[in-house]
Amino acid sequence: MTEIFGIPLQAFLGQLMLGLVNGAFYAMLSLGLAVIFGLLDIVNFAHGALYMVGAFAAWIMLDKWGVNYWAALVLAPLIVGALGVVIERFFLKRLYGLDPLYGLLLTFGLSLILEGIFRDQYGVSGQSYPVPELLAGSTNLGFMVLPNYRAWVVFASITVCLGTWYLIERTRLGAYLRAGTENAKLVQAFGVNVPMMVTLTYGAGVALAALAGVLAAPVIQVRPVMGSSLIIVVFAVVVIGGMGSILGSVITGLLLGVVEGFTRVFYPEASNVVVFVIMVIVLMVRPAGLFGKEA
């Protein structure tokens, strides 16, 4: 049988698919992070926690009120987005102009709070969220059996990423955002309500995280630590992609997902660390990241 890097072709393709699935999550999460960092200059440590909250929101809605997956796909991001607005208004607002490290520490604290609350409510062991009927079952791709739901995840997240990219690169609002990252004061001097825009951007950014959470719910166990175990990796993704670079973080996300997938084949134990190795190497060579603008 044909082999690539000494592994059978079909195994290779299989891992490629799975890598894409994980990459899809990285992409969506790092996208939100990048948007927030770009405009607010805040490294949003709470991102992972809010991703977790999104997943739980979906699970709770299903568990308590029987709200189905598709509704949750819309509602959860809205709820979390609203939460984000509150966070920005009450906490982050007070930190603008200060060393960005304070933003990092504050959001770190917030993530601890959120995680703690859910740990107390639901314990550490996971809650399982059923795959929606429409996407149940799986398709035999010949080289592997791909659960339909995972295919949907890749499709959905890539769509969202492209959508966001379009919004930011091709629309008027996007123009405000990009201009705002360069010179917020001047944009405000033109009559744009920049403070409001900033608040909503943060809301939107974390809504993306929540959306990723809902998408993830049926794939992995919904559990309080799901975010904190992911966030560090996503940070690495954003840094590698170049902080603030939208497209960069998306592409890097997908790439690293795949890289990680292959690492699982050659040296499974290392799959959790390969991202950081890459990060250090990249930063040694390109301090501003792969797609980042040199200062």
Partner: protein, 235 residues
Amino acid sequence: MASNELLRIENLHAWYGESHVLHGVNMSVDEGEVVSLLGRNGAGRTTTLRAILGLTGRRTGSIRLRGTEAIQLAPHRIARLGVGYCPEERGIFSSLSAEENLLLPPEIAQGGMGVAEIYEMFPNLKERANSPGTRLSGGEQQMLAVARILRTGARLLLLDEISEGLAPVIVQKLAEMIHTLKAKGYTIILVEQNFRFAAPLADRFYVMEHGRMVREFRQEELAANASMLNEYLGV
């Protein structure tokens, strides 16, 4: 007189961090007037403009726009009272194309110029429409900076050093433009190094020194004040 008074500034103080830059500025501008602020580098003219829009650090005193007290308002609220600002450093956005830069400022009132009209005024901008903002030549950037606030329908234009670093021919063009705008009834505050540029355009002149208005005179008093300008502008 006070009836068509558009802007009145009283005892305006402004700070950049620790340094106290404006020490009680008083001035007023009438509807349709072109007023020029003269003074040396560092006199505080730019700061005056920035203070009107609330872009400096701390500021105190009183700024009335058509009777509305603006000293407490956020910059975007002030802008929406009909103020357009062309900053000294031009403030062209590198991540936006020239056209995006032009279309960036939201319309804040009726009666702004149409894009076609603007392109007619500055043909070069039309040519460079799709290239990144900061790739434009200094002159083109300057035109862009002015042009983009003409779209918005703002009636009070704060223009800071718009002739700075531009080839004489373009300066000439800008002079014509200001004439046209004046004819259209715009109100303009002109901050200029280039006295030769400002002199024929302005109805009224203020001379600034160390964050204060030290002299005020009208176009027809220009000659009479020659020696004084000499002394203040150090030329």
